[in-house]
């Protein structure tokens, strides 16, 4: 019987049959904890495995990205608990300067297509962008994997998503992603894996794939898996320093459902405040006045995303009274943006640039919204209270940049 991608990956990491609905044990290639959750992982290790070593130090990491550098004593304490534990265990720490852990894992080649990784980041399933299995977990779950090197999983069913049509020139991977999130909502793929097909998907670069995969969580999906194309394999191979293999589903794989997302004639998309899946065309809300704009996050914080925003604002100024901030996802991305003058373009336009990390999503690192404040953000969540007391819309870097310039929600085509 044919297998879907998730079944293949789980099968490769288990000595049991990876059949949907069955609970099996799978080996985990990368085990990680962030500053968020990390201290509790350490607490669990010390409670349940006092004085013992982690299963494999070379596969275990701490990645600090949530509150970097710590701006509360509690976070500073938590990070330091992790550092001390990492030192005792001789485990590598990607510290407060490194950037978003999931992005670091891809950039550093810690994970390659077909492999498995877990961490305390609920968006770790972003690794589906390279055809790897990533999963966010709580601190007890992660402590268990630190020690056991494996864990139980219920093999999920897979929903097949066919994206039809080509991405129009005025749209981006983020618009495709939001269209998909709006179409599927939070129930269609609840607890299931997603697999994407279509020529528009094949053409997505790694940056676009990360954007799409990052919002599997907002569709309540376990993971959105994409078959790596040659470009992705090359990039992952370069990161690891040795060639990597792709992964593809069998032609006769069995899917629990099929969904078609038509992107022919797509217009730029935006999520209205409160629900990531409450998605409409940007033009239907372009009379909404904007107070602040945030560009970054694991969804749209790559070099390519920030460059796209800079291209929209080049030579222009943010509208007076609007606050704009940019947070590159990683240190490496930041350096490239700096060397190429992209950050200079953004600063000239009036944006504030922060050090790499989860700023904008993790509360407080780069400001929050006040009551009544309207924000356009490139992050992935706009739940009530998540980014402050105001109203957060979710859109592409291009739409966010255009909205900053005009002081209202706008597409880049509206920028003269």
């Amino acid at each position: 019987m044919g297998q879907t991608m998730i079944e293949k990956i789980m099968q490769k990491h288990s000595n049991e049959d990876a059949e949907p609905g069955k609970i099996i044990w799978i080996g985990i290639d990368v085990r990680s904890a962030r500053d968020f959750g990390g201290a509790n992982v350490v607490k669990n290790m010390n409670t349940y495995y006092p004085g013992e070593k982690v299963n494999d130090r070379s596969k275990t990491y701490f990645t600090f990205d949530c509150n970097v550098p710590a701006n509360t004593i509690a976070y500073a304490n938590n990070q330091h608990i992790c550092r001390k534990y990492a030192k005792e265990q001789d485990v590598r720490v990607y510290d407060v300067d490194a950037g978003i852990g999931s992005h670091v894992m891809i950039e550093e080649g810690l994970l390659a297509p077909g492999e498995t990784g877990v961490g305390t980041d609920s968006h770790l399933n972003i690794l589906g962008a390279i055809g790897a299995f990533g999963q966010g977990m709580g601190d007890q779950d992660i402590a268990f994997v630190f020690k056991a090197g494996k864990t139980w999983f219920e093999v999920p069913e897979t929903v097949r998503i066919d994206v039809e049509g080509d991405l129009p020139a005025n749209c981006t991977a983020r618009d495709l992603t939001l269209k998909t999130v709006g179409t599927l909502g939070t129930k269609t793929a609840l607890g299931k894996a997603e697999e994407f097909f279509g020529s528009a998907i094949d053409k997505l670069d790694l940056s676009g794939r990360i954007t799409l995969a990052s919002m599997a969580t907002e569709m309540s999906s376990i993971i959105a898996l994409l078959q790596p194309n040659d470009l992705v394999l090359k990039e992952c191979g370069a990161a690891r320093g040795s060639p990597v293999q792709g992964i593809a589903p069998d032609a006769d794989a069995i899917y629990s459902g099929n969904v078609t997302v038509d992107i022919g004639g797509l217009k730029p998309q935006i999520s209205r405040p409160g629900k990531p899946h409450d998605v409409v065309d940007v033009e239907t809300v372009n009379d909404v006045q904007v107070d602040s704009v945030f560009i970054g996050s694991c969804t749209n914080g790559r070099y390519e995303d920030i460059k796209a925003a800079a291209d929209v604002v080049k030579g222009k100024r943010i509208k007076s009274g609007v606050f704009g901030s940019v947070v590159p996802a990683t240190r490496r991305g930041y350096i490239r943006l700096m060397k190429e003058g992209v950050l200079e373009t953004l600063m000239d336009a009036g944006f504030l640039i922060s050090n790499p990390g989860c700023g904008g999503c993790a509360s407080g690192q780069i400001g929050m919204t006040g009551e009544g404040q309207v924000q356009v953000s490139t992050s992935n969540r706009n739940f009530t209270g998540k980014q402050g007391a105001g109203f957060t819309y979710l859109a592409s870097p291009e739409t966010a940049a255009a909205s900053a310039l005009l002081g209202r929600i706008a597409t880049k085509e509206e920028v003269k």
Binding site: A74, G136, W152, L190, S220, S363, F383, G385
Partner: protein
């Protein structure tokens, strides 16, 4: 036989069990630096519209009843532990976010999934009992709903206490 008995809270929105209650509504990210479980209960639902005073009113042995995709969002264990700290017996939902489900199962906190439930027969404050083996939910001796069977791994972990204890027996 495991029976959970307690006073129910129907968490409603527009007359229906509320869907998509995310972890920021259950346990807001501003309290994430807390690692002491005994400090967590007091913040439960304080960012959930209409239920901000839940933690003050909840009593030990209460049962929380919610809609679909409960606990979507972040991976925070606190969103499970806060209920345990309040003494809430179990959670009953139409479905759960994937990470939330694992967190509850692995920490040995009982979460049950609704198969069918006659909401019209229930009000907040009613006392119900749920037999997880037969999957029946009763009020005043009358069956008013059914729950899905627990998976083997969930049963085993519940019996052991948590995933750490469970793994010792493997």
């Amino acid at each position: 036989m495991t029976v959970y008995k307690g006073r129910i809270w129907l968490i409603f929105e527009d007359g229906q069990l509320m869907d998509d209650i995310d972890t920021d509504m259950i346990y807001h990210n501003k309290y994430l630096a807390i690692t002491d479980k005994s400090q967590m209960g007091q913040y439960t639902f304080d960012n959930l519209k209409g239920y901000e005073d839940f933690a003050k009113k909840a009593q030990p042995q209460d049962i929380v009843v919610v809609g679909a995709n409960f606990g979507s969002g972040s991976s925070r264990q606190q969103a499970v532990d806060c209920f345990d700290n309040l003494g809430v017996t179990c959670i009953l939902a139409n479905s759960y976010g994937a990470i939330y489900k694992r967190n509850a199962i692995n920490s040995g906190y009982p979460i049950l999934t609704i198969k069918e439930l006659d909401i019209s027969a229930l009000s907040t404050g009613d006392v119900v009992s749920i037999d997880t083996d037969s999957g029946t939910m009763e009020k005043d001796g009358l069956v008013i709903g059914r729950t899905m069977p627990l998976s083997t791994v969930q049963k085993d972990i519940l019996a052991a206490g948590n995933v750490f204890e469970y793994a010792k027996g493997l």
